[in-house]
Subunit: 340 residues, 2 copies
């Protein structure tokens, strides 16, 4: 299989115009419905477009109207199950609004300035996930007046960039409340996510809040690294078990961690939920299919994506926007906590 024949240049609007026997302006009007055109000429133009298989050049169009109709998505990496619904929500909302989606990750590749790939030069606005960008860069972005929306990241001190996230603290608190109130657990381990993730901070805050409200002191030996990662969580729990520390429940930082937790407990012959209650966070696809089915908090991740796009589009249109959108979460009771 060899390269295609010397690809002749694609047809231009002028080619279409000539073939249809009209001016390029009329063709433009037909394409953009920007002005009425007599049915007869309309037909001719459409026919010409069809036979030439003509598509207007995006670049020329962008240059002329000075809008790209493209949204940029900047993310640290593409790894967790978590990203699937987020991406889906974003892509869906963007394409419904007639916008294309340009994505770029900051972790891999030559660590050149992310703005070389994504910025005002090729998008109308940017969606920035989590900690993909230093605060300094965000400040510069704000100063330039370019539309930006933050996803799952708090707006840094002093800036006014709108953000979309979920009620991490409330969700975590309701989870721990449930463990304490319904299952009389008191020695509750918490596996915290990465230090850099805002989600992790708020979830830990919810954990501490619940404990405080139930007058249970926080035992530092029970607050351990989970890193939102299955293997890390599994290791941490293994060590915890070997150390002989007593505990009767585990609030994993997220569902991925919970998977590691379940594996570690199983290996040690500790029964879930009889001996130890386990809960996750996010309610990803596999949460209901693991054994035992995972009690967790449902994060409306797809909606987060949709709302983020919605906000960004408003910003682009010059409309007002909420400084921060906090989407509600919902406790999902299954069996790993001890219910049923």
């Amino acid at each position: 299989m060899h390269s295609q024949p010397p690809s002749r240049r694609p047809p231009t609007i002028d080619n279409v115009a000539k073939l249809a026997g009209v001016s390029s302006a009329t063709v433009s009007r037909v394409i953009n419905h920007s002005a009425p055109v007599i049915p007869a000429t309309l037909q001719k133009v459409q026919a010409a477009i069809e036979t030439l298989n003509y598509r207007p050049s995006a670049a020329a169009r962008i240059l002329a109207q000075r809008k790209t109709d493209t949204l940029g998505l900047l993310m640290p990496e593409i790894s967790e199950t978590f990203f699937i619904p987020l991406l889906r929500g974003i892509e869906q909302a963007a394409s419904q609004a007639g916008f294309s989606l340009l994505i770029h990750t900051t972790s891999y590749g030559p660590k050149n300035n992310p703005f070389a790939m994504l910025g005002e030069h090729n998008t109308d606005g940017l969606l920035i996930f989590s900690e993909s960008l230093a605060n300094e860069e965000l400040a510069r972005l704000q100063r330039s007046g370019f539309p930006v929306v933050l996803i799952h990241q708090d707006t840094p001190e002093g800036l006014r960039i709108p953000g979309i996230t979920i009620d991490n603290q409330g969700g975590a608190q309701s989870l721990v409340d449930h463990l304490i109130e319904q299952h009389s657990r008191r020695r509750i381990v918490h596996l915290r996510g990465p230090q850099s993730a805002n989600d992790a901070l708020w979830r830990e805050k919810g954990y501490r809040q619940s404990l405080a409200e139930h007058h249970i002191p926080v035992d530092p030996a029970l607050v351990l690294p989970g890193n939102f990662d299955t293997d890390t969580a599994q290791n941490t729990i293994c060590h915890l078990i070997q150390s002989g520390t007593a505990f009767d429940a585990i609030f994993s930082g997220d569902d991925s961690s919970a998977l590691g937790v379940l594996a570690a407990l199983r290996e040690a012959g500790i029964r879930v939920p009889e001996d130890v209650s386990v809960v996750g966070f996010d309610d990803v696809d596999f949460a209901s299919h693991v054994h035992p089915p995972l009690t967790t908090v449902h994060a409306p991740t797809e909606q987060v994506g949709e709302r983020a796009v919605e906000q960004l589009l408003k910003l682009i249109a010059g409309e007002e926007v909420e400084p921060v959108t906090l989407l509600p979460v919902e406790l999902v009771i299954r069996k790993s906590c001890g219910c049923d």
Copy 2:
């Protein structure tokens, strides 16, 4: 929070030129390293770029050079865990080559022509996943001489579009061979994927091939729909158990199905692997963390993405390309088959 101040037009190459006291041509040369420039003027230009925070307009650049430096990815939807490593491989390879990635899904949104969003007008080439596009469209694409690479889809009859996929048949066969040879299984259920997926076809072929080579007749009652989907698989196995049909192993179409299979067997009190062996396909993240750890075939999905980009770039450069790339898979023995 309200919309940003009236965003002044971004700086142009002429602004930079004026500020640096040179012509726009020289600025262009500095930016693109397209011709030598005296150190003194170089400095001035770079300084001007810096103070103006100038970024060349992608659209103008594309229009002038008639290349977009952008790759398009067309996929049916963003759903399975499976897509994560694929996307990662693609994004990584693309950005390393200095290409941007434009993605679009065909399932959601107004079912307008996918080419309205992705095509020659805004990309240099297209990556097409699985069955996101009718063969007729593919034919048109080939006729236009536009670079296209197929991912996880066989090249349709009569066309010569290069494709990247994995050795589905070989993988499936080695899985079933293992079940028969190492664990003496003979009543092996197969949960097939969606009819439309080439992967599913080849996996079933591998299953039949293995059976044939071991002189085991195929029992149609054991070849059932799995749809590469957890819930479907769970239902199918439930019904199978209720029907009283005898079986001693299950080759799930993929790991997602295997999750449903495990859940169904657990509910019915059937032990894995003592009573029934279970194997998956793909080796997704959770495969090693479910109970029992899943014996499966490792699909090099991230590499598929990388290779696809690699091939597409060659095509764009006018180089020759293999008609079909079949990436090898590897049997991953864990415990769900009965080993250990």
